[in-house]
Each structure stands twice: as structure tokens, then as C-alpha cells.
Amino acid sequence: MSGWLSYLWLEAKRQWRNREILIFRLGLPTAIYLILNAADGDTPSTNPGGRMVPIAALAAVISGLAAGPSLGEERANGWLRQLRTTPLRPSAAVAAKIVVAMSFALPSIALVAAAAGLVGDNQGTALGWAASIKLVGLMWLATTPITAVGALIGLTFGGEAAHGATTLAFVVLWLGGGIFTSPDNLPDALAAISRALPSWGVVQVGESVAGGRSLSASAVVVLAAWTVGAGALAALAWRRVLAR
């Protein structure tokens, strides 16, 4: 356990001091939010979470998928093999990637919410402190299945391919997963797919908190299914990596 904590600590330090990572994972979603918010100020709102919730979900996707390229690279360059010659449990490396990805998702979501609180979301109603904290906390927990998808990608594809697969997953979740547009605006077949994606679950969780509703059961089911499904596939991929 203490070995895992030292590994986690080093993993966190080396990602948190990388300026490009900070800009991309923490700065980019907030910047996108502020730009969109300023760009079309008076579109009437239909969603309780306004523009803030979808962009916070985008932040969750960006940080959540981050374990993918990182694992893929370290599998390709042999660092994970090197770790396997030490007493560190091999799965500790994967677990650390997921925890560090989650450590970026929380502030990334919170920054978007804070920006909305500061400048005023032009589509949604202003939330109080308690609702904001609840919204950030629950959207953060809802990021878990996305980190599982990231780990699955990193354990399935090596090196450059992991980058490509992560980008593809990002585009699918962003365009098709309820962030770019609500499934309500899509044709039926696409809407059904959209409502089965984990990013839609994250958006739903945010909107129910913003709208003062209880969590939608279908969102919770989708998020749980993705956590279990991607997690199990990642575990299988990991066993294949170990058996090489």
C-alpha cells in the first residue's frame, strides 16, 4: 500500500507540474465556456443547467480520458514493464492513472462552475453555494466511467494508437454524447445512442442538480453500466498485457 501511495504521489506530481497538461485539462474547458457564453448571450435557455453543465461535462470528458494516452505511451516505451520488475503490484500503475485523472476532473469541473458563478450563465439560473458544490461533486463522481474508458483505451492500444483512440472517443462523447447538443435535437436512432453514452449521464446528473430534481434513474443506470462494463474490459485488457 505504501508503495502504491509513493507511486501515486509521483504520478500526480509529474502530471500536475506539466504546464501543457494544466492548460489543456483545466484552462481549456473554462476558456471554451467563457467564449461561448460571451458569443451568443441572449439565446433563450431550455436546460436548467444552462451552458455551464454541458461544458462542465466536456471538462469531465477531457480529464477523464487522460489515462488513455498516458497508459498507452508507458506501455509502448517499456516503463510499465520496468515497474513490473519491482515489488509494486502491476495493477497499481493503472489505478494510479485513474486516480490522477480524477484529480484533474474535479478542479476542471469546478472551474467551469466557478466561471459561471462569476460571470453569470446567460442561459441558466444562478445556483447557490450548496447547489454548486453538490453539482460539482456529483458531476465529478459521474466522471468515473469515463476514466474507465480512458484506462481501457490505454490498455488496448499502445503509443500513437492510444492517442488516436482517445481523440475518437473524445469526439464521439462531445458530439454525440449530449454535450454539443441535447439528444432531443437528434433523430430517434441517434438520440437513443446518445442517451446510452456516459457523457450524457454526466450532463443529466448536472442538470438534475441545477433543476433541483432528483437524479434520473436512466442516467444512473447508464453511468453504472459504463463503469462496470469498461472496468471489466479494462481488467481483461490488463490481463492480456500481463500475459504477453
Binding site: 509513493s6 509521483l10 506539466n18 516503463w79 519491482t86 515489488p87
Partner: protein, 306 residues
């Protein structure tokens, strides 16, 4: 795998180990024991199965047949217990980590590690301890990988082609550092394709080629086996293979495109007989065997026909 009373039990054993990748047999019925305190060179040409041997010993890959044991149990258990330190060939380092941090991490994983200061000194990394690994030179990276293998103060140190990327000077100082570490019953196994390196560093040389054990002994003994060999090559036109095979001192004959190449332990006798029996022979070449040819000879003489 000796049962002699005066010989201590080996800490690492291969017992009839075979490893295949698809149809290719990479390790072929390898049996081998390594005693505590030895510095063993695993010597062989590229593709001989050295890296697979190292991976089997570390539990990174499993035998298809036979048993590999390390400190009396499965390799993975010895690794988990922190009894082994390894430097893999071309293993990458995680970007953004600092040298001293990586050493600190590996130390924290082992029960009885060296101090960070000692590891930095042994691997000559004091000047770059605070530097992130992506800003190191190739030689410095290599020393970091050595440092990570040493940091846990392991009983067995395994190095896979540790000096492949180094020049002559750097190679010598690398081995001086390893020598500084090896004492007090520590054991080292290193893979190399350089005979001179095995000769200079090891007190036992194990030669493998094609996944088979070809020779095993002191450097002097293995060198003697490799020395004195020559290859003779002639144009194949009108010559029969049988004629060459029956010449005195010939050990193996190979035909490559238009030429026949034979290895011999007594080139003078072979050439004399050849010219007598085939006076019109064309394109005669005689060369002292390098290590590869010496291995070729060993393959033919000691290899088990399959």
C-alpha cells in the same frame, strides 16, 4: 542443478524450459542453474533468446514447458518480495519525473533499499538528481536505469544488454560502477552480445544461440572453445557437399547462394586436403572465426538435431 554437497543450491534455475512465440521456438529446452555470488554473462548473438531468458527469469513471460525458479519459488514471488532488481533493454522513463524522485519511488518499494545518496553516487547521477528525465542525455538515462535496478539493494541484479548504447569509455566506467556494487554475496546476471565484455566482467559465461545452451564455463574456457576456429569459403561450382564434409577437421558446412562455407578447427589441414582433392577450386577464402562463426560451430557440434 548440481546436487554436490560442496556446491550451494542455485538461486535461479531453468529446468528444461521451452518458450515459443507462435511457431518460433525462442528458448529450446534450456537447463541452467545460477549460484549466489556469481557474475554471469549470458552471451549470444542478436536473436539468440537472451532477452526472453531474462524475461522468463523475471516472470515477465511464462515458460510453455519446463520450470523457472527464482530463490526457490516462482519468479513473480521473488520479484514481489523485492529480491531482484532489473535493467531492461530500452525501458523508457516516465516524462516529467525527476531523477531523485524515481530513485526514491523504487527505494520505497523494496524492504532494504540503499539510500538515495548512495544510489546517486553509484550511478554517478549526483549532478542531475533534480533534473526531469526527458532532459537527460542518452548515457545519463542509461545510468538512471542502472540506478533504478540498484536502488532496492537486490540480492540478484539482472541487466539486459546494459551497455548497448554506450561508447567504449562509458562501457568501462559502467562496469566499474557495477563492480562497486557487486560484493557481499550479491549475484549479477547480464546479457550481452560482446565476447570481450563477457570476458572482462563475468566469472562465468553462458553461451546461448537459437534458444539453446551452447557452452557454459569460465570466460577462459569459453574463449578457448571459440578460438582456433576458422571458416573456409569457396565457390560451389562443381563441388560436392559430401567432399567438403569429409575433409579433415571440418565441423560444419553451409551453402549460401553460390558459395559453400565450412568451419574447421584446423584450417591448414583442411585447405591442404581441399586443394589435393579439388585442385580447380575457385574463390578460396580463409578467415579466422569471429564470435558469430564460433557460435555457428557450437550450434552444429553441440546442438541437438531437431
Amino acid at each position: 542443478m548440481s546436487t554436490d554437497i560442496d556446491k550451494p543450491a542455485p538461486i535461479a534455475t531453468f529446468d528444461g524450459v521451452t518458450r515459443r512465440y507462435g511457431q518460433v521456438i525462442v528458448i529450446d529446452r534450456l537447463s541452467l542453474g545460477i549460484q549466489r555470488g556469481q557474475t554471469v554473462a549470458l552471451l549470444g548473438p542478436n536473436g539468440a533468446g537472451k532477452t526472453t531468458t531474462v524475461e522468463l527469469l523475471l516472470g515477465l513471460t511464462n515458460a510453455d514447458q519446463g520450470v523457472v525458479r527464482l530463490f526457490g519459488g516462482p519468479p513473480a514471488d521473488a520479484v514481489a518480495a523485492g529480491r531482484v532488481g532489473a535493467m531492461l533493454q530500452d525501458a523508457g522513463l516516465p516524462q516529467g519525473a525527476k531523477v531523485a524522485e524515481l530513485i526514491g519511488l523504487v527505494r520505497s518499494l523494496y524492504p532494504d533499499p540503499l539510500s538515495v545518496a548512495e544510489v546517486l553516487r553509484l550511478a554517478d547521477l549526483e549532478q542531475v538528481a533534480r533534473r526531469q528525465v526527458q532532459r537527460l542525455s542518452g548515457g545519463q538515462r542509461q545510468r538512471v536505469r542502472l540506478a533504478l535496478a540498484l536502488a532496492g539493494n537486490p540480492e540478484l541484479l539482472i541487466l539486459d544488454e546494459p551497455t548497448a548504447a554506450l561508447d567504449v569509455d562509458a562501457r568501462r566506467t559502467f562496469w566499474e560502477r557495477v563492480h562497486g556494487y557487486v560484493s557481499a554475496g550479491r549475484t549479477v546476471l547480464f546479457a550481452t552480445h560482446r565476447l570481450e565484455e563477457a570476458d572482462a566482467v563475468a566469472d562465468r559465461v553462458v553461451v546461448i544461440s537459437g534458444g539453446r545452451l551452447l557452452a557454459d564455463g569460465t570466460p577462459d574456457r569459453v574463449k578457448a572453445q571459440a578460438a582456433g576456429r576458422s571458416t573456409i569459403s569457396v565457390a560451389a561450382d562443381g563441388l560436392s557437399r559430401e567432399l567438403l564434409e569429409n575433409l579433415p577437421a571440418v565441423e560444419a558446412v553451409q551453402q549460401v547462394r553460390g558459395r559453400l562455407t565450412l568451419s574447421t578447427s584446423d584450417p591448414d589441414a583442411t585447405v591442404r586436403a581441399l586443394l589435393q582433392q579439388a585442385p580447380n577450386v575457385q574463390g578460396l577464402e580463409v578467415r579466422r572465426a569471429g564470435m558469430e562463426e564460433a557460435f555457428l560451430h557450437l550450434t552444429h557440434v553441440e546442438g541437438v538435431p531437431s
